[in-house]
């Protein structure tokens, strides 16, 4: 029954998406300020559709939790002996389940928009919901026609085949749902952008509504990417934290677009400038989410953790992409010319700095996109290449470095027009920090250029992040400003971690006999034993490494070489020793013919700062959301009081005071 309820809910949700789309589209037939009577079904349809999509997902979750082996998806991806937590995360650790999660979040955000958004003209909201329904419909069709998660087996399986062991990790419990919520949150930004474009309501009020969704999506993307990077770092056992893998790029690209969008939508909200640009980024950000999904899901790209899926499904998603992205950019090209560009500003101004950073972010986005797609281009000509860090690092740094520099100064500039003279002292402080840090580090040794530059920038940025607070009563600084300060400081912290990891990592690869000792970065590690251990669904060889720092008390590290038997696969479980100033990373490899074990160790100074920085950036975003909501609530109260006063004055026969 469970599977049938889920499937029925999915079909009903699809039907409601049709209703939502058609009803919402009637809004466009009404004139400005009017509402077509047929458009009123869009909101309820969106809310009920959200409930049904969530119900469908809950049913699949239930089937996985109880290992219902009559469902094909469960039988091919789960196993009765798996720990419960991985049975649950297994729900979205596969193609169909993750697509259902995607649709569920999409419907839920559409439902939330329909239920709570009352500030925009009804006509714009209806048009927005029509677009949202249209997007949802495509993905329902994809699920129902080519990736049905509730398909039954003719005969129930006696046992499931398991779940990719790489995915049996707590990182998977958090990473994909967070990332998906972020991806799909951008769908609302996309729908809002299209709705506003179609109804010609591109203005600050629209931007304030959109900003909240962009901020939310951006925070979730930031957290998802941070978690994903840490997961790859400790789970893959390769010792790196960013591999420029197509799947990683697939989440980085929407993040870059969303970061640009967040800044540009703020300019539109505060200053009524950058209208076309904001709409373009709104379309682009969600396009990148969909493109990412396509690249990962279609099997077009090969990656360590891409999901191999047949080309038929790839063609279906490509069709959807053509419809949505192609359609959106066509409407954009036709309509955007009619949207006035908004207020003008001088090159040197807060807006100017934000535009500069937007352009730099877009350039980095283009570089990542190019690097990700380039192997596809060459493969079309039968040449196989892989594009890696040697391309991505310097190419993205070329635009990231000027961006970081402007990012240090930008928040200090005034809106509309400013003069460089006013910031003489601040600019000098930032420059001095930059040069000082580089000089100091290069004095102590030979380091590669990029990490060195990174260290200098991190130092300058860390201080510059707090400069906007200078000379202000801290208690009265708006929460949104604190959010910006914290997020920019987080960027500095991450940059510091990356630069230190790049410049100071020490690596030791050695063949060690039991009882032997190896040194790495101030630590000495003794291999005490290598013994077999067993887990719920794996067996492993576990090394006991007694690690002591400068002859202090030893700490036991236990890296494992794991073998899963359903499906059979080997993974390397790294062991980490975390200190405030870095991490010792140990991996056990193969046994050599002479009985010695391959042990690989890295001392990575301040590597954890990369992820602390990510968390700070997300926290900054959360503060900004709270701050905006507070300001919004205050404004509404104030305008309610204003209405009362005006009404009171009108009753007395006085001239009404214009609002705002």
């Amino acid at each position: 029954m469970i599977a049938e309820i889920g499937l029925a809910a999915l079909w009903l949700a699809a039907a409601l998406a049709v209703l939502q789309m058609i009803s919402g589209a009637f809004a466009l037939k009404a004139g400005e300020g009017e509402v077509n009577p047929l458009a009123i079904y869009a909101r309820p349809a969106a809310v009920v559709q959200a409930g049904l999509a969530v119900l469908a997902f809950a049913m699949l979750l239930w089937a996985f939790a109880t290992t219902d082996l009559s469902i094909k998806l469960v039988a091919t991806n789960s196993h009765s002996m798996k720990p419960l937590i991985y049975k649950i995360t297994g729900t979205w650790g596969n193609h169909e389940g993750s697509m259902l999660l995607w649709v569920g979040v999409l419907a839920l955000s559409g439902g939330l928009l329909a239920a709570f958004e009352r500030r925009l003209p009804e006509r714009t909201i209806s048009a927005t919901l029509a677009v949202q329904g249209f997007v949802a419909l495509g993905f329902y069709a994809f699920l129902l026609l080519s990736s049905n998660p509730f398909e039954r087996l003719p005969v129930p399986a006696i046992e499931g085949v398991g779940l990719n062991p790489l995915l049996q990790d707590i990182g998977l419990a958090i990473h994909p749902p967070t990332l998906y919520a972020g991806y799909v949150g951008l769908s609302v930004a996309f729908s809002l952008a299209m709705g506003a474009l179609l109804t010609r309501e591109v203005n600050p009020a629209f931007a304030r509504v959109m900003r909240r969704w962009v901020l939310g999506a951006w925070v979730l993307l930031t957290l998802g990417i941070t978690a994903g990077s840490y997961w790859a770092y400790y789970e893959l056992g390769w010792g790196g934290w960013w591999f420029w893998d197509p799947v990683e790029n697939a989440s980085l690209m929407p993040w870059l677009a969303a970061t640009a969008l967040m800044h540009s939508v703020s300019v539109l909200a505060a200053r009524d400038a950058l209208r076309t640009w904001t709409i373009m980024l709104g379309v682009l950000a969600f396009s990148m989410s969909m493109l990412g999904t396509f690249l990962v899901r279609s099997g077009v790209l090969t990656s360590v953790h891409a999901f191999a899926v047949d080309p038929e499904r790839g063609a279906f998603i490509l069709g959807l992409l053509g419809l949505y992205i192609g359609g959106a950019f066509t409407i954009f090209a036709l309509r955007a010319g009619a949207v006035a560009e908004g207020k003008r500003f001088a090159a040197i101004s807060r807006e100017g700095a934000l535009v500069f950073n937007n352009v730099m972010l877009s350039a980095i986005l283009a570089i990542v996109l190019l690097g990700t797609l380039y192997p596809l281009v060459t493969e079309a000509f039968d040449v196989r290449v892989s594009v890696g860090p040697p391309y991505f690092n310097p190419a993205s740094a070329m635009f990231a470095v000027p961006m970081f520099l402007v990012m240090a100064v930008g928040p200090l500039l005034r809106w509309k027009d400013d003069s460089p003279k006013r910031l003489k002292i601040e600019a000098m402080v930032i420059a001095a920090l930059l040069i000082g840090a580089i000089a100091l580090v290069s004095f102590f040794g030979q380091f590669p250029f990029l990490p060195l530059l990174g260290l200098g920038l991190a130092a300058a940025l860390a201080v510059a992040a707090f400069l906007p607070l200078r000379g202000r009563a801290l208690a009265r600084v708006p929460l949104a400003t604190w959010g910006m300060v914290l997020a920019h400081f987080g960027v500095a912290v991450s940059l510091f971690g990356m630069a230190c990891e790049g410049a100071f990592t020490e690596e030791r690869l050695a063949a060690v006999a039991v009882g032997g000792t190896e040194q790495v970065g101030g630590f000495s590690a003794t291999l005490q034993s290598v013994t077999p251990v067993a887990g719920p669904n794996w067996t492993a060889l576990e090394a006991r490494l007694a690690v002591s720092e400068d002859g202090g008390e030893p700490v036991i590290l236990t890296p494992q070489a794991r073998s899963f038997w359903s499906p059979p696969q080997s993974t390397s479980e790294s062991a980490l020793l975390t200190r405030w100033d870095g991490q010792l990373y140990a991996v056990i490899g193969n046994q050599a013919a002479d009985g010695r074990w391959q042990i690989r160790m890295w001392w990575k100074p301040f590597v954890t700062f990369i992820w602390y920085g990510g968390l700070l950036i997300a926290l900054g975003g959360i503060l900004a959301i709270i701050g905006r909501v507070q300001v919004e609530a205050k404004r509404r109260r104030a305008s309610a009081i204003g209405d009362e006063r005006r009404a009171g004055l009108a009753a007395l026969g006085a001239e009404p005071v214009p609002a705002e």
Partner: protein
């Protein structure tokens, strides 16, 4: 942004990417990792029996005529799906040597009782050593081994009805 033509740039870029992706989707793709062992003699191995009813498997068993070497496991779902095809091959007089990967004797016995026993011998590969040595990356996989013990053909995944003829032809070629 005064130039209205600029507004068409995103669409043009997207069209290019979509075309490219579409082209790539229509291309045949090597989905599988082929063993580099094809054309090579089997590596040395001698596995103990996987359960009490049949002898174990060793390299020495592969002489005199071509045989199939089937890598499988009782816990593997596609192995159930391919069981009838193995029976069909057996009915055609093909000798099939099984290697059970990370399995338990009682599970093996159970599986054979339920889905039929096409094997003449089954070796127990508890740590996947033989599987890795002959370049197999998953279960099930089937190899055609000629009369001299040389690997001639590798079939990845379960044997579906349409593959039976193909395998018989490969066995014929290996004579």
């Amino acid at each position: 942004m005064n130039n209205r033509l600029l507004l068409w740039v995103p669409l043009a870029l997207f069209a290019f990417i979509a075309d490219l992706a579409g082209y790539m989707l229509t291309q045949e793709k090597d989905q599988f990792v082929e063993s580099t062992m094809i054309g090579q003699p089997l590596p040395d191995f001698a596995l103990k029996p996987a359960f009490a009813g049949l002898p174990g498997a060793a390299k020495a068993d592969f002489t005199g005529k071509p045989r199939l070497l089937n890598i499988w496991a009782s816990w593997c779902l596609p192995c159930i799906a391919e069981a009838p095809q193995l029976e069909a091959l057996k009915a055609q007089g093909v000798e099939i040597v099984g290697i059970a990967i990370r399995d338990r004797p009682e599970d093996v016995a159970n599986f054979l009782a339920r889905h039929g026993n096409p094997y003449v011998r089954i070796g127990a590969d508890d740590i996947s050593e033989v599987q890795l040595a002959i370049g197999s990356s998953g279960v099930p996989e089937t190899f055609v081994i000629d009369a001299k013990g040389v690997i001639r053909y590798q079939h990845i995944g379960d044997i579906r009805p349409e593959h039976v003829k193909l395998l018989l032809a490969e066995l014929e070629k290996a004579k």
